[in-house]
């Protein structure tokens, strides 16, 4: 087991930077999710960590060993890294046991020892009795477990997951998520988990690295990511946050500032040291929007669309004063929200998106 240190890594394809100046530190035994929309560079990041791609500049260390820098790269077979691929990548010409025991065979581990370790790995992922099956005769979930056992058996220092649940149906996803969490708990392996699914990342990871256009947008715990996004991209990407322009009226005091948003005065959370400024942005979540009572501070908004969600209604609105902004709230049934009708809303809370570089 070992930590992973990525320092100022850039990977260029032609004149396109797939990964730009990314620095990450994964602690020994940590479960880190790398989250981002497709094309954000997360898969490239995984491939440079595994050693399938060389980096253009920067440095990657696994434990204390430098495995990649601009001048060279340790080949993948010498990195002791395990990978679980999205399409499982099980070898069709080998049985389950042969698949799992492959790295032991390559390392010329004694046959009897290898057999025992394969059996242990298979029972760890609840696949006892399937050792002699062919991958073609397994279900999707079983294949994923074989892939898990395969990377487990070699006791790798680091396990990389490349969107491992993307090919499974919703049902299986939930149970495999539990499986991965249990796997992490049991083995204490350092895990880097690539995904585009926020719910998955939130549920599993100790920390999440959000990537955007090849850059690291924010690295934080799931809770901080949700509550205190470091920039607009993260704010709007995570849990469909709503980003609104605001004017900061007071200096930070006890983690809060007073701000004017859509004509309403709101107290929002913020980082220490914030000063009054005009062109600020705040991030609010749908629960932060409530229907204003009589005489309360708030603003008028027009309903543009109401979508029935089963048990609740997602109402989309635009402020009357700034119709180019889009808001949405979830309201329980019943309740009629005719498009075109007006509602008075109030913002109850929010987060001031920091200016410039992340702290």
């Amino acid at each position: 087991m070992a930590g992973l240190t990525i320092s100022n890594v850039t990977k260029t394809f032609g004149d396109y930077d797939a990964v730009k100046d990314v620095s990450l530190d994964v602690r020994d035994g940590e479960f880190l999710a790398v989250l981002g929309p497709s094309g954000c560079g997360k898969t490239t990041l995984l491939r440079v960590v595994a050693g399938f791609e060389k980096i253009s500049s920067g440095q990657i260390r696994i434990g204390s060993d430098v495995v990649s820098n601009a001048s060279g790269s340790v080949p993948p077979e010498k990195r002791r890294v395990g990978i679980v691929f999205q399409n499982y990548a099980l070898w069709p010409h080998m049985t389950v046991a042969e698949n799992v025991g492959y790295s032991l065979r390559v390392a010329k581990v004694d046959k009897a020892v290898a057999r025992q370790r394969v059996a242990d790995a298979l029972s760890l992922v609840n696949l006892d009795g399937l050792a002699d099956r062919r991958p073609a005769n397994l279900s999707g979930g079983q294949r994923q477990r074989v892939a898990l056992a395969r990377c487990l058996v070699a006791a790798p220092s680091l396990v990389l997951f490349d969107e491992p649940l993307a090919n499974l149906d919703v049902h299986l996803r939930a149970s495999m998520e539990d499986e991965f969490a249990a796997f992490h708990k049991r083995t204490g392996t350092t895990i880097v988990y690539i995904t585009h699914d926020q719910a998955e990342a939130m549920a599993l990871a100790d920390r999440i690295a959000v990537m955007d256009h090849g850059r690291l947008a924010q690295l934080a715990t799931p809770r901080d990511l949700y509550r205190e996004p470091a920039n607009e991209m993260v704010a709007s990407f995570i849990a469909q946050g709503i980003v609104l322009p605001a004017k900061i009226m007071s200096a930070e005091q006890g983690g809060h500032v007073r701000a004017e948003v859509l004509g309403q005065e709101v107290v929002v959370r913020c980082r220490p040291g914030e000063q009054p400024r005009a062109d600020a942005k705040i991030c609010i979540r749908p629960p932060d929007l409530e229907i204003a009572g009589k005489g309360e501070a708030g603003f008028d908004a027009t309903v543009t669309r109401a979508i029935y969600k089963g048990g609740a209604v997602r109402v989309e609105l635009s402020p009357v004063l700034q119709p180019d902004l889009h808001l949405h709230v979830e309201r329980p049934e019943p309740g009629s929200f005719e498009p075109g009708s007006q509602i008075r809303l109030k913002i109850t809370s929010g987060w001031l998106i920091p200016n410039g570089k992340p702290a």
Partner: protein
């Protein structure tokens, strides 16, 4: 309503019927006629032909020889082709496009031209060896007149065939399967041995079967290398029997050709059985693996592979050209002796070879045009048709090409020896019988690219025309043909190149006045006029090469894999 239904049904029926007629005429009929001759000569079931054939010791010797050169030629082709495919596909070797073009080139050159070129390179009269001062004394036996010589050239000729199939397989290998092995600690050679090669087994097996069928049915190489050494294989035995005995020995020849067919089929069946033993299905699709970095080995490996190209392509062709420039057998080439007389002779003076150029051009063009026109409707039925029997259609069209050429040639002889019933038209001893055999044999070369062309076209394009009111024939003409035309025409060019210097079929079917380039080349060589044969070969190789390059211009409009020499 009913009238409209009738009209659309009518067009579909007409298309289906036309396709059926073509297939019956070109595939079913000749094969049945051949079988009848063996099982029931003269209309009465009898085992005379079989018994006669089996009792002849020549049959057994030739069968043994066929198996020996077939098996070892296949082995050599598989080793060479797989090796080059692995290097070209999986490593970061440079100049891949040119390499593929050069390596596949021998496949586009007629086998007898390959044979001639190699003979000219190593013989005692070799202008090349004379230039180097290495030529053995005149009268020394050419080392290629031997079993090993035949095996070597078969391996060189069909290595590219294996290469193409294995390369296609390697390209479908998802990179994760390789990467998972490397992450598991396996070095490159271990990955190759435990993952890549096992997964390529089906491709290699299929390639081996195809190479085996080609080796067993090859006429040009054993004819040029084996006949002088009196080393006969089944195709050359048939040729000698027919050349000596004429139509009287047709029954025996029919038996021998069926024997070749059986051996070829045995190869295919073996492959089927071997491939079924394990599960090699690759279900996922993905990007191909990153090329393996050869590092400091890159230059030596590149040098090695180009040396191979020089050995199997450049030197033989160089030898061929040198021979074509020498005024006579055994004369050393120098600036004083070099001459273009041989070219002048074969192009303008010798009546037979002049006719042969004309005949071969006419035959190749006719076969190509016909095949393109037929491939479009047949491909339509195969690719888009819903009928169950289309798979059978495909198989039937493949058959005359999959079976050795000798088989089809004998079948054509049997069919047309007597005038066609009711019409009194005589095809035997005319050029038309050769044309018939070419049409039957080469149709599939145009059909394959056309079908893959169809698979790339969105069917909605045709359906839109249908909604717009176009009937089947109108759609075929105005929508479908223009869309698949590039693929079909590429197939037509392939046919032209193959038919231009074809020998196997025409050697058995030609008559005075209907000589082909291959036949005249063969008779020059048999008569000791290697210089003339070399000049003719050089011309056909040049034409083939130019056509390959011209066809490359079509490449942007073609489905990938249609042009074998294009990477």
């Amino acid at each position: 309503m009913t009238a409209r239904v009738k009209e659309s049904r009518g067009q579909e029926m007409a298309l289906t019927a036309a396709v059926a007629v073509v297939i019956v005429l070109l595939s079913l009929l000749p094969m049945l006629r051949l079988l009848k001759e063996v099982v029931a000569p003269g209309g009465v079931v009898s085992d005379t032909a079989i018994r006669l054939g089996l009792s002849s010791s020549a049959t057994w010797v030739a069968t043994w020889h066929t198996l020996v050169v077939g098996i070892f030629g296949t082995l050599l082709a598989v080793v060479l082709g797989t090796f080059v495919a692995l290097l070209v596909t999986l490593t970061d070797i440079r100049g891949r496009g040119v390499l593929v073009l050069c390596y596949v080139m021998p496949l586009m050159i007629a086998p007898q031209v390959t044979a001639l070129a190699w003979l000219q390179l190593f013989g005692p009269a070799s202008p090349f060896l004379k230039l180097l001062g290495l030529a053995p004394p005149l009268g020394t036996r050419n080392p290629l007149y031997s079993t090993e010589g035949i095996i070597l050239l078969l391996g060189v000729q069909y290595g590219p065939l294996v290469f193409l199939l294995v390369r296609a397989g390697l390209r479908k290998l998802p990179r994760e399967l390789v990467e998972a092995a490397r992450a598991g600690g396996a070095g490159w050679f271990t990955v190759l041995r435990t993952v890549v090669l096992p997964l390529m087994t089906p491709s290699i097996m299929a390639a081996a079967a195809l190479a085996f069928v080609s080796c067993v049915g090859n006429f040009g190489i054993p004819a040029f290398l084996g006949i002088p050494a009196n080393y006969l294989v089944l195709p050359t035995l048939i040729y000698q029997k027919l050349a000596g005995g004429g139509p009287a020995v047709l029954g025996e020849a029919a038996f021998l050709s069926v024997l070749i067919g059986v051996i070829a089929m045995a190869g295919i069946v073996t492959q089927e059985i071997m491939s079924r033993r394990r599960d090699y299905r690759i279900s996922s699709t993905s990007l191909p693996a990153e090329p393996y970095e050869l590092g400091r080995w890159r230059l030596p490996v590149e040098a090695g592979i180009w040396l191979l190209i020089v050995l199997i392509l450049v030197l033989p062709l160089f030898g061929l050209v040198l021979t074509s420039l020498v005024p006579g057998y055994g004369i050393a080439l120098s600036s004083a002796t070099a001459t273009l007389d041989n070219y002048r002779f074969v192009l303008f003076e010798h009546a037979g070879s002049r006719r042969a150029f004309f005949n071969s051009f006419a035959l190749s063009i006719a076969a190509a045009v016909f095949a393109v026109l037929v491939a479009v409707p047949v491909g339509y039925l195969i690719a888009w048709g819903k009928q169950r029997w289309v798979r059978l259609v495909n198989l039937l069209i493949e058959l005359p090409y999959a079976l050795p050429g000798v088989v089809l040639a004998i079948a054509a002889l049997l069919m047309f020896l007597r005038p066609i019933p009711f019409t009194g038209i005589q095809l035997y001893n005319t050029i038309w019988i050769i044309l018939y055999a070419y049409l039957a044999r080469f149709l599939v070369l145009a059909l394959r690219p056309t079908v893959s062309g169809y698979h790339q076209i969105d069917r909605a394009l045709e359906e839109a025309a249908q909604v717009a009111g176009a009937g089947l024939f109108t759609r075929l003409r105005t929508i479908v043909f223009p869309l698949v035309a590039p693929a079909a025409i590429a197939g037509g060019l392939l046919i032209f190149m193959t038919a231009l210097s074809e020998l196997t079929v025409s050697a058995l079917l030609w008559s005075s006045g209907s000589e082909t380039i291959g036949v005249v080349m063969f008779s020059f060589e048999q008569g000791g006029d290697s210089n003339y044969a070399a000049a003719m070969s050089a011309i056909t190789v040049a034409i083939t090469f130019v056509l390959m390059l011209v066809t490359n211009l079509l490449a942007p409009y073609l489905p990938s894999g249609v042009l074998p020499w294009r990477d």
